[in-house]
Amino acid sequence: MAEVVLKGIRKSFGAVDVIKGIDLTIRDGEFCVFVGPSGCGKSTLLRIIAGLETATGGTLHIDGREVSKAEPSERGITMVFQSYALYPHLTVRQNIGFGLSLAKVPKDEIARIVTATAATLQLEKLLDRKPKELSGGQRQRVAIGRSIVRNPKVFLFDEPLSNLDASLRSQMRIEITELHAKLATTMIYVTHDQVEAMTMADKIVVLNGGTIEQVGSPMELYNAPATPFVAGFIGSPKMNLYEGKLAQEMGCQTYGIRPEHVLLGAEGRWQGRVKHVEHLGADAIVHLDVEGLGSLVARTTGDTGLRPGGDVWASPQPGKEFRY
């Protein structure tokens, strides 16, 4: 249980500034997700918190203690890696108990803790297997088990689900969220997948080019994105964003409207031609070609009768437009 405070954290690799001064407070017990495109510095920031990278500048406090120079094992953190990073030559039991054996915990105590943890994660039957004999989801659970036994103040997750297939990913999302609810520990989670960010986070930190674009709850970011970048990044399909003539007409530099807030009908503001329709079942994504606007994406009901080549009128839902 700990608060994580970053003050003016900077990181440079040679002349390249990867993190350009980050101030952030992650409250005790919060599930905080760092999200952003590749190369935005989210993993580097997580590694700085973990102590695997040293910050070029700034300070880091975990649970009120300054740990900027501390070894990873002294920070009270633990980390789940994208590649799971299980020790291939050790069994599941030994993998989970590795940290405890390093800390010279008595053997019977290690056995007790490992068994209890395995029970929590439904790994009891796999304890004597080697990692290569496990499926992706099971490996991920072992990696989480290895983290739990150390009883950390802060859990760090570095894109832990990106190697799993879609159905397993959504299952593990729920498991990690439930784990957070049960342990009530501070968790910091890095992902490039905005669906993971939206579904799991108490707080989302959107990073871009080494700086924070916006911090807020998932719905805050969805309803009131502070910048066009956040507007385009949060939400799927992404928001339609326009600059130039249309934006000027709307009295702004960038004009945005989410696909779910575009109404299609027999009349409206923009006339467009249907380029492509993606049927998702419950709803459909319609790609339109609008003269003077370019492409426009709209989300509509799944039983839409629109066909490629057909003409349709589109209008923004009042009060749902974004102007920057």
């Binding site: 973990a50 953190i77 633990t78 890696f81 994208q82 990073a85 590795f98 940290g99 290895r146």
Partner: protein
């Protein structure tokens, strides 16, 4: 399999037999012959099978010198191979994992160890200066010095295939650098270690020239040097010489047969990613 492949296979097998098995059979035959028949040095069936008698003669020659030689050679082999593995893996690990501007210089030195031929006389000067000349440990260090470059190269390229995440996970688990190396990395180097054990132990056990130069003295004899017991300028006892060869060949052969599979795995490990 086509007819052509079939015949190519047969020819290859026969050739391999001629090249590898015939000399061995020749050694075995000559080793059990009597002195007179052996002196003809031809590939004939032994008239008498004097296996046990020749064996006892060879072992008991010059006050059981062969047994002392086995003892010395074993110490040199075990000592040198253990050091080659430990230091080779450590140097390979640090070279691969810790990037610094010295890496290129160190790597250059390692390559120089492979490329530059050893010079005997200066080495003897150095060993005399260190008080290691004519000592078993001096010989161990010589073997380590000659084999370390190869061992470092092999370990370094294999360690490159071990994900760095493992080191970091161990670090987060609270392991110190030496613990990361000993408990996480070293066990994963098994394929290369087995290869090195086999290749180096055979090379060191069978080494003739280095003990000849650096380890003179009757009490320092190694197995290969016992071959001198049965040949001199004017006469050679071929039956005993070949029995000696047979006895000297057996230990490396056993090592090779046991570890054969792993050697290939270790030699190709790290060659391709995946």
């Amino acid at each position: 399999m086509t007819r052509r492949q079939y015949w190519t296979g047969i020819i290859a097998t026969v050739l391999a037999l001629v090249i590898f098995v015939v000399p061995f059979v020749f050694i075995a035959f000559t080793a059990v012959k009597d002195k007179a028949q052996a002196s003809h040095l031809d590939f004939t069936w032994p008239l008498q099978f004097l296996f046990w008698q020749n064996l006892v003669d060879v072992v008991s020659t010059r006050n059981y010198m062969l047994l002392l030689a086995y003892f010395n050679s074993s110490i040199i082999t075990v000592g040198a191979v253990a050091m080659l593995i430990l230091f080779g893996a450590m140097v390979g690990y640090v070279l691969q994992r810790r990037q610094s501007r010295w890496n290129k210089v160190i790597f250059g030195c390692v390559l120089a160890g492979l490329i530059i031929p050893p010079a005997v006389v200066p080495t003897i000067w150095v060993m005399q200066g260190l008080g290691l000349f004519k000592t078993i440990w001096g010989m161990v260090f010589i073997q380590v010095a000659y084999g370390l470059a190869f061992s470092v190269l092999l370990y370094r390229s294999f360690i490159a295939t071990i994900p760095r995440d493992l080191d970091e996970a161990a670090r987060i688990d609270g392991a110190r650098p030496l613990q990361i190396f000993l408990r996480v990395i070293l066990p994963l180097l098994k394929p290369v270690t087995v290869t090195l054990i086999v290749v180096q132990s055979i090379a060191i056990f069978n080494d003739f020239t280095n003990p000849l130069y650096y380890l003179p003295g009757k009490e320092n004899v190694t197995v290969q040097l016992t071959l001198f017991n049965f040949q001199s300028q004017f006469s050679t006892q071929f039956n005993l010489l070949f029995m000696n060869i047979l006895l000297v060949t057996i230990p490396p052969l056993i090592v090779f047969i046991f570890f054969n599979r792993q050697i290939v795995a270790g030699m190709t490990a790290g060659a391709v990613k995946g």
